[in-house]
């Protein structure tokens, strides 16, 4: 049964990844990242059950905390960028080229 959870987790992770790559709205990209993190959490929880150890759940817990912190900072950055550029498109910030 755990295999199913893992495959679902992989599927969600891949979809999240594709979303990160194809969407240009920074907020949506961010949501996709969250999706990927959630997919990982699902895998952790599944492995915790599989192995009979709480470690997976502990890690998932920490991932949630870190994800929350990340969202806060990420969204703050997006807001700041939007404020100066009037755009939330990740393609507009292409200074890495230089």
């Amino acid at each position: 049964m755990t295999t199913h959870y893992l495959v679902l987790s992989a599927l969600l992770f891949a979809i999240g990844g594709v979303g990160v790559l194809v969407r240009r709205n920074a907020i949506v990209v961010f949501m996709c990242v969250e999706l990927m993190l959630n997919a990982c959490n699902l895998a952790f929880v599944t492995f915790a059950r599989q192995n009979g150890s709480l470690d997976g759940q502990v890690i998932a817990f920490f991932v949630m905390i870190v994800a929350a912190a990340e969202v806060v900072i990420g969204l703050a950055i997006i807001v700041t960028i939007f404020r100066t550029r009037r755009s939330a498109s990740v393609d507009d910030a292409s200074l890495l080229k230089h």
Binding site: G17, L21, R24, V90, D91, S94, K97
Partner: protein, 636 residues
Amino acid sequence: MEAAEIASITQHSGGAIGAAWLMIALPLVGAAVLLLGGRRTDKFGHLLGVLMAVASFVVAALAFVQLLGFAPGERRRGVSLFEFIPGLVDKVGLLVDPLSISFCLLITGVGSLIHVYSIGYMAHDPNRRRFFAYLNLFVAAMLLLVLADNYLALFVGWEGVGLASYLLIGFWQHKPSAATAAKKAFIVNRVGDVGLLIAMFTIFATFHSLTFSGVLDRAGDASQGTLTAIGLLLLVGACGKSAQLPLQSWLLDAMEGPTPVSALIHAATMVTAGVYLIVRSGPIFEGTGTAQLVVTIVGVATLLAGAIIGTAKDDIKKALAGSTMSQIGYMVLAAGVGPAGYAFAIAHLITHGFFKADMFLGAGSVMHAMNDEVDMRKYGGLRKVMPITFATFLVGYLAIIGFPLLSGYFTKDGIIETAMEHSAVLGWLAVLGAGITGFYMSRLVFMTFFGKKRWDAKAHPHESPAVMTVPLLLLSIGSIALGAYLILGNRFMIFLSPAVGAPEHLPEFHPFSAPGLATLALVAIGAAFAWLRYGAAEVPATAPRGSFLTTFARRDLYGDALNEALFMRPGQWLTRLAVFFDNRGVDGLVNGLAASIGGSSGRLRRVQTGFVRSYALSIFVGAAVLVGAWFVVGNL
């Protein structure tokens, strides 16, 4: 007389012979003082130069006297100096023997006279001090050349005289022609030097020694082929220094130098170094008939070529230079014959040193009087205004054409006789050469001193000062008497024999042998023909076009044209090609590589779009590939 073998060397450290290094050191110090002292020494520079040359002559004379005090078999005295290159030439030393001391006397004696003459000749030159410095440098190097007891030290002197020759030919360096001539002389000499260098390598590889004693005493141990190779390579060196075919072309150009230089270096001493080398390396040449044959052929060819060039030159110094080539050809011919010829070669070398120096200085005196005009067509009738110069020149002239009982008569005749015994063809060619000599030397004398005045309006010829005429007089005395003294009774041959060996039968002097008479007859015909053309008839002020032969001779037998076509043009072309190849080919390859890397990086850079999503894509693809790889590897 049985001193056929070369005597062994006795080490020596006393008296004038022990102090033989002073001969070299004195002029060297003179040169150093004059060069380093700069303008401070301008006032007394010429006097110091003369003093050093004369002092050197005194040492040489004392050493000569001391040498005569030994028995003939002990007349080879070695003087050891200092350690040089361990392994190659452990110790450098000097070798004072009859051969080297003869040269020393000639170099310092004639050299001193020319030094004295130069005081007058260069009186008005602002750089007279430097001139004397170079002359002293030359004397030192030349003495090192002849006194060295090994090939390496000889080579040091050999190149030293080359350097002095370069400096002196180019003394009037502001003249492009002089600078070019100097460079040419040095470079052509270098071609010869390469021969000498490789000869030395071969000698060292064969005998593990470069000293004369170590090499020549064991010359018989080496194979015929090796000896031939060494001999031919030495000949190449000799050809370069002595202006023998095919390396003769520099000598005529070298006349750009001041006339005392032409007299000392390019007539009396340096150009004869090749003869010295061949005679000194006698045992090597004697071991190989091939090399000797080539030597004689080169000698005869040059003898004729020089004479032919001499017939067509209107420039008095170039005519004399052609004559020098020709006379050295005689010496080389004699040296190629073997022990029978050595004494004649050296004797002719010495007498030639006197009479040719005499004539060059005489020519210098004439030029001095004629505002440095060298074209004989603008001379004529000078015998009346320059009696001493004329008289001394006449002596030199008679000596060179072999007028009976003068120096040249004895020595040149000896060479012709020896050559005749060796090979009739060579002998008769040498006789022919003597005939041509009679013609061109007579032409020179008639055009210069006889006939009508063809002077420039501005010329006011006058006799030269005593400081110039006294050396002329002394040299002409040598030109008159030296030949008879040396040759009669084989005096010189016996003297030299400890150093170079001697033939089994000493030659006898036949005053009326067939070749001797034939020579005299040909010389007389040549002189008479010259009188008809240039003495009795009017000499045109500009040179007539002349036949093909005249042009041929005037253009130095197309030697320069040949050099130009064979070496200079392709050389320039090769140089340009090489530079092009280096810039475009080698460097171009490197730069091209750099550019292509740069270009592909530029293309690769476009992958860096700056879009975060592109980078994210590559990360994601990378992750996928990693998973795939893990999958593949895990399932292996």
